[in-house]
Subunit: 578 residues, 2 copies
């Protein structure tokens, strides 16, 4: 962490030592939020104080902004505003409490503060920010972006729900509508069953995509009968109504570098815990994504705990807890833009196909790109961008410094040809969340070490495709070492504890080493089932050695015929079985 | 209209006369869209051609862009994109076909072209544009932003509707959902009954605010029974489902000057026909807002035909037809920002209260403002803005060049103290639309002359308030002369043919001349009822003279006891009755 040098006016003062009094707050470049009117526990909106304090930090080039233990509340009303295109989240004009755009060298120390947000607001934005550290605080929301209800009874195509005061709702036009602090609609578009005793998704529970409307009737005080065709579930379990959008991630990092997030609890947000795009050098230590203590919630945050798109440098996560979030613990990947037209004079038009990738401007003059065949994902050429013209948030026109390869055709993909991030994930615990653990799609060196996994889907998934999600992946050096995999894959989101897949057309798999050089060693796999330990295809270089496999009885068997290792269309494979 | 001078490179050519060939299209500064690949009647997306042609116009400083007779189609796919805050419309990231941002001196001549738009797209944006003329074209949409259905039967709390193929729909979760060309939801939030024979809102029909959802069941092929509590309506009439948002006005004009719109038919759009804000010198001649011929629609466009906010210079509308639009023919007003906080050091925080005024940044250094008492709307001081800092789209902080007046308190309003536009509306026809004719709120000279009105609400309304809509108004010199008012006020949106009102607290009306110097002379009022011809309060200076009042039997009487002139809390009033 490189802190900014002392404020300019302090340097001036030092020349005049005896003539001027240096304000105490500035003496060491420390700004106290208390000086700007924010009092912990007051229940007042601390947002204007934060904006004033950040202005002061910017002007005085302060090194540190500090809070006190206690609760600070934040509303969107007076927050700053910016239109944000954030990959894998929903775009929009967002309100932001801590807008750190352009900051270089600032530490925010919560000193144990608890930040409670109200309604739709983004806690932290790092946009073209450098050398930022945030530590010692927790984030929560007064009213969550998801809703939870207890299953009381299950009928034919119906489920009866008891809904606590924490999740206000109304019935209108025969529909169930959850509401927020100001009676605003808290929209959902799917439901998923959780087991409140095990604190995880119910065994083999699946997502029901409900759309924004569910028919419902009142059957008692805070008791509602909801119509969900073919619903299966268990009384006593919790039905979670998933947020319809991802608008309010806790930490949004874009085009930034050297961000450290240390000892921070993310109890809730309406999106991802940390989403970083086109950024480098990000470190998380002792970040805990977990339901707010005492809240009784089974869900922490409404999407992935962390997510990194087209990042570089080093991504390091150590000593973290990622539990009960509504999506993966991490997903590290690039983005494929699809070639949508070949224009005269060698100009290419490319499209960002997935709606949550719109506005992701990653193509810039001087950048090295790979040209990829869509169905096989084989890179058949590399080139350098000469010019890039954004046409709108979906379409960009580019020219390359060299003639277009003859192989290029519409439907192919263009992605960054590095730099790719080096990744270390060590001593983290991942459990109880929906879907998978780690989605690893960097071509840099990746080390996954000494972690504990208990995930409903695959604990580790290698994916990537240029036809559906348009996520660039394909590892080159991945070591998975000394981890504990404890009864993973008890849900519907995976077919193995470690799953190496990719959206490669079945006709294109032979000899296709999309993922390369994977080592799986010295891990413990404790499994209730004979689910595959490793399932893989299209790998060039896979070593599985010195792992221990234990049998448990934690869940009913779900896949009795499966072999522990299912490998196809791969070369240079060495598997040692105990 | 001032055209730009000849393109720079042509000047260079002229020096080298015999050495270079001047392209024919550029010879007179004329760009033909056909040179950019757009062919009328092809059914292809002409948007890329328009963008390329506009780029060429910009680069060559062409004076004119021309089309041919025939149909051009436009989709949002390849349109340019901009986040637009447009007063009295809904903000958002919009796609724009003709983005004329920054243009100075361009004429677009459709030469009789018919522009057909598809899905959500903005036809024309003038942003910081000067000296623009658009003429000889028509605008329509393939699928409208509103929906129409024929009332087949009316039951208790239900209405049975026959819905034609022009308005695709589905029933989902027991709800009626209208859909568009790509199956996208075409959202409504109100319904209103129209008389398809008279081609106007049904006698005394009112808006039903339905919200986004209406319960419905299928009762036959394209026959739907919809539940609307207490619905009253007449079989054979048309029920219009009003668009839920105003996102796609035909002509959006912001911070621009000298715009002429000549001989243009606006058959449809999802917003206003012409919305202009912070702009000056706007002329409309032979602009026709009317349902697309042959479409069978009872509604033309989904909001006001025209609307002018904080404009100045001259607003001239001559020989126009404004019919069947879902809101007023025009509304000319300013905006009041509400004083929300008094900060230390004399700083004021003001708020744009109405959600459709957000982002309307009208306060700028050097600007003269009036300070207004909210409940009375009395201007108690004028001042000059020294600095303005936008905090977000709702809040702005300002400093004045002089100390704050002692009278100033939270809840007061701040608005521009001029310049106000001079307005001429002459020889226009206004009929069949929902709500009112002309809302006049400029303090410049206003002349309303030789027009024909047949409006469901007041033909002319003077409004303004600083508590609900926050629209600054208050005329100073208004002449209403030689117009024909033909059976106005047959609906629920007014209490007189000419209504002079304002959101002034009843305790603040005595001596409050919010509107001043109004002359109503030589008009013909043909009325089916003894509705007031003129209703007014808080006027200083009203002369009514030489008007003719005729009795008609066009509608049942609705207000038998009313007097033709109801004037209160006013001074300097002269009324001559025949």
């Amino acid at each position: 962490m490189i802190f900014a040098s002392a404020p300019m006016h302090l340097k001036t003062c030092s020349l005049l030592a005896t003539l001027c009094i240096v304000p105490a707050a500035y003496a060491q470049g420390v700004v106290d939020i208390g000086s700007y009117g924010a009092k912990p526990g007051s229940g007042a909106d601390a947002t204007p104080a934060v904006r004033a304090a950040l202005d002061a930090c910017r002007q005085s080039r302060a090194a540190k902004l500090v809070f006190s233990a206690g609760q600070y509340d934040f509303w969107p009303t007076h927050a700053s505003e910016k239109y944000l295109f954030v990959s894998n989240n929903d775009e929009g004009l967002k309100r932001i409490v801590f807008d750190l755009t352009g900051f270089n060298g600032l530490e925010i120390d919560g000193r144990g503060a608890r930040f409670v947000f109200h309604r739709g607001v983004n806690p932290f934005l790092l946009d073209h920010a450098r050398n930022i550290t945030i530590r010692n605080l927790s984030l929560d929301w007064k009213r969550t972006f998801h809703s939870e209800a207890k299953i009381v009874a299950v009928g034919k195509d119906t489920v009866d729900l008891a809904i606590s005061e924490a999740y206000p709702f109304k019935l209108e036009n025969g529909l169930l509508i959850f509401t927020g602090e100001d009676k605003e609609v808290v929209a959902f578009q799917n439901v998923l069953e959780f087991d409140p005793v095990k604190r995880e998704t119910a065994y083999m529970a699946r997502d029901y995509r409900t759309g924004l409307n569910l028919q419902a009737t009142e059957i008692g005080p805070r008791l509602v009968r909801v119509r969900i065709p073919k619903f299966e579930g268990t009384p006593g379990n919790i039905l979670v109504f998933g947020a319809s959008r991802r608008d309010f991630s806790a930490f949004t990092v874009t085009d930034s570098e050297n961000f450290k997030l240390l000892s921070v609890n993310i109890y809730h947000c309406g999106g991802m815990g940390v989403i970083a795009q086109r950024s480098r050098d990000i470190e998380l230590d002792q970040v805990r994504v977990t339901p707010s203590p005492g809240s009784g919630r089974v869900v922490s945050i409404t999407a992935d705990a962390t997510h990194f798109v087209n990042c570089s440098g080093r991504i390091v996560m150590t000593n973290c807890l990622f539990e009960n979030q509504k999506d993966d613990a991490t997903n590290i990947h690039g983005i494929y833009a699809q070639v949508s037209a070949m224009l005269p004079d060698g100009e290419l038009e490319v499209k960002l196909v997935h709606p949550q990738q719109r506005g992701f401007d990653f193509l810039a003059p001087g950048m090295k790109v790979e040209l990829v065949h869509g169905p096989s994902m084989i890179t058949y050429a590399e080139a350098v961008v000469r010019s890039a013209e954004r046409r709108n948030s979906e379409y960009t026109r580019i020219r390359l410094t060299t003639p277009l390869p003859g192989a290029l055709k519409i439907g192919d993909a263009v992605a960054a040809a590095g730099p790719y991030p080096e990744v270390v994930i060590r001593n983290c615990t991942i459990r109880g969340n929906r879907a998978r653990g780690l989605l690893l799609g960097s071509r840099g060196k990746i080390l996954i070490e000494d972690n504990t996994f208990h995930t409903a889907g695959a604990a580790i998934l290698l994916e990537g495709d240029a036809r559906y999600w348009f996520e660039q992946a394909g590892v080159r050096d991945l070591v998975i070492r000394r981890n504990r995999f404890e009864d993973c894959n008890y849900g519907v989101w995976g077919k193995a504890v470690i799953e190496v897949a990719a959206g490669i057309d079945s006709k294109e798999r032979t000899g296709n080493g999309y993922n390369r050089n994977i080592v799986v060693e010295e891990n413990l796999f404790r499994q209730f089932d004979t689910n595959p330990i490793v399932s893989a295809y299209c790998v060039d270089g896979l070593k599985v050695r010195k792992n221990r496999i234990e049998k448990s009885t934690a869940y009913p068997a779900r896949n009795p015929g499966a072999k522990p290792f299912e490998i196809s269309d791969s070369v240079n494979v060495q598997i040692e079985q105990d």
